[in-house]
Symmetry: C2
């Protein structure tokens, strides 16, 4: 019997028999390429992380993707499984019609880079391409914290805040394929300037980096805090510092951390009034804070949202960590190939 | 050829030949019952408005609904059309399983009142029941400002702010059937107390009544304004007063009106980042302000939202006015009966 994703120890492939159909999932990041061979039964047969070597340019990165895919293809063959395709999640805007990625923020110098055609030609299977944030949402939906739901959203709290919405079991893309930009919902009109150019975005307050930045500004403004020591020795403040100091009772850190959690809760309230979801998942680097994040977000949600208990979504932490992207990319490849996938029914 | 809704003069039934299938649409309000006989081809064959006489109690109101429905049924028979059903839009929460409405705010003394069974028994056709706000959204979607879209939202600006979301051509109800509560999205965290108990809801700032209320508070606070005259002679300020005074250049009124439009634009920006819609409709009493509402909302949207033009929804005014509710209720009845409806494909 295949081992399910949740039971599998990290970074160790399962040694069990294979599912009939499998797909390669590839998650291209600025630093690493995370990849895996994923079965239609939600099992991960093989998992690998290699450096992106983005400085080598697009063609070099494509050759690394091809090499990984061909390795996985051989593994699939050895196991007697049918390789349904390769799914790629990439940062930046996707031009689906041209199978290309446009100006990914973490891959400097990439303007428009076609990925689908060269990989498909070199590997000999269909290739699907999607945004890395979409892939991660679909991954959690299929195999992680979203399992068993039909209607959910995810907030990915990293340098920025990514997001995604699954409705009726499928990623909701919207009219211009630009839905789920949940980090750019305005939570404080005319508030802090966001990197996107808007003012008052959730991302301008409650991402890992802007949480740290708000604390750093208060420290620079002369407020007393245990964080002054970290800044004093020349280290850059992180959201982890803020969270730890808040837990230890530092007043400045608590104020900043509570504000982050309060505004994340506002975003959850607004999602709920708009879409009435089953579940909202907090993911990304900052979700490693665990209960220190989850508890106050839930509390602020409870204080701000209507009291009617039946109406509330579960607010939970993501489960797949760095696997979410390649698992979701593989899922989209399986769906694209018309393979019946285990448990969840979504994606498109 | 049937006359389409948009070409039809108000309050005059068309005298043309009938569509094959028709439904009665009933919109129960606190003051009036608005009703019509609507064809599957989007034509209104007959339209009627009678006082609700809510003080007579639930049974009296039900008898009025039955009487109206039977009148319309006879008209359908005379015209040789098949009456597919009766659709009712009612205020308050709907208990779909029991065909009942619960504690409608505009019908004092109604606790849980079953509507589906008594009307269905007395009229002899299937009866569908939905929230009046949902019915209005579906009405505009099918025959009004939403025609031709698949993905849209509507903000109904009245005493409160109602709303609704149509995705993939169907009303999005969500997990607990409570989606589309767009008036209770929080736009100013910890802001003004809303009637719903939350703080900082859109409805607490930008409904017709809260717009007037914010102006009244500034007048009461001693600010100079042409509105002081209206208050001075004992009249109650309305959003219409505020809009007119703003147009005439009154500084206080402009400030209040701009704030309303700015926060409506924030709500539109947030809807767009979440769902990436084709169109957002401004409806309800305050939409009678026309361009005085539409222009500044669009301007504030343009100033606050990403500049990428291809990503923007059309922001438009509703077209059906008071007809939207009964048209949408009839649409839901037609869909329920499995009748193929003209043009739009949505609802469920």
């Amino acid at each position: 019997m295949p081992v399910s994703l949740k039971d599998l120890p990290k970074n160790r492939p399962s040694m069990t028999s294979s599912p009939s159909s499998v797909a390669v999932g590839i998650d291209i990041g600025g630093t690493d390429i995370k990849a895996g061979l994923v079965g239609c039964d939600q099992s991960i047969l093989e998992r690998r992380v290699i450096p992106t070597e983005a400085s080598g340019g697009p063609n070099h990165v494509i050759s690394r993707v091809v090499e990984l895919s061909n390795d996985f293809k051989q593994i699939a063959v050895r196991r007697g499984a049918r390789l349904a395709g390769v799914g790629i999640g990439a940062p930046g805007s996707i031009r689906a019609a041209r199978g290309a990625v446009v100006s990914p923020p973490n891959l400097p110098g990439w303007t428009e880079v076609a990925l689908v055609d060269p990989v498909s030609k070199a590997v000999g299977v269909p290739v699907t391409l999607d945004n890395d944030a979409n892939a991660a949402v679909v991954g959690e939906f299929w195999c992680g914290a979203g399992r068993g739901t039909r209607d959910m959203a995810m907030l990915t709290l990293g340098t920025g805040i990514g997001g995604g919405v699954v409705l009726n079991g499928a990623l909701w893309r919207g009219r211009h394929e630009n839905a789920g930009e949940l980090g750019h919902k305005i939570v404080i009109p005319e508030g802090r300037v966001c990197k996107c150019g808007q003012r008052g975005c959730l991302e301008a307050y409650a991402s890992a980096s802007t949480t740290a930045q708000r604390a750093a500004e208060l420290v620079a403004g002369g407020r007393k805090s245990s964080l002054c020591e970290i800044v004093g020795r020349g280290d850059t403040l992180t959201s982890k510092h803020v969270c730890s100091a808040a837990r230890a009772g530092d007043a400045l850190a608590r104020e900043v951390w509570e504000e982050t959690c309060r505004l994340l809760a506002v975003a959850c309230v607004n999602l709920q009034h708009t879409l009435n979801l089953e579940r909202i998942i907090l993911a990304g680097g900052m979700s490693a804070a665990g209960d220190d994040l989850l508890r106050p977000v839930r509390e602020h949600f409870g204080r701000q949202m209507w009291a009617d208990i039946g109406d509330r979504p579960e607010i939970v932490l993501a489960e797949l960590g760095n696997d979410a992207g390649f698992v979701g990319a593989a899922y989209l490849a399986l769906k694209h190939a018309g393979v019946a996938v285990g448990a969840a029914t979504g994606g498109r």
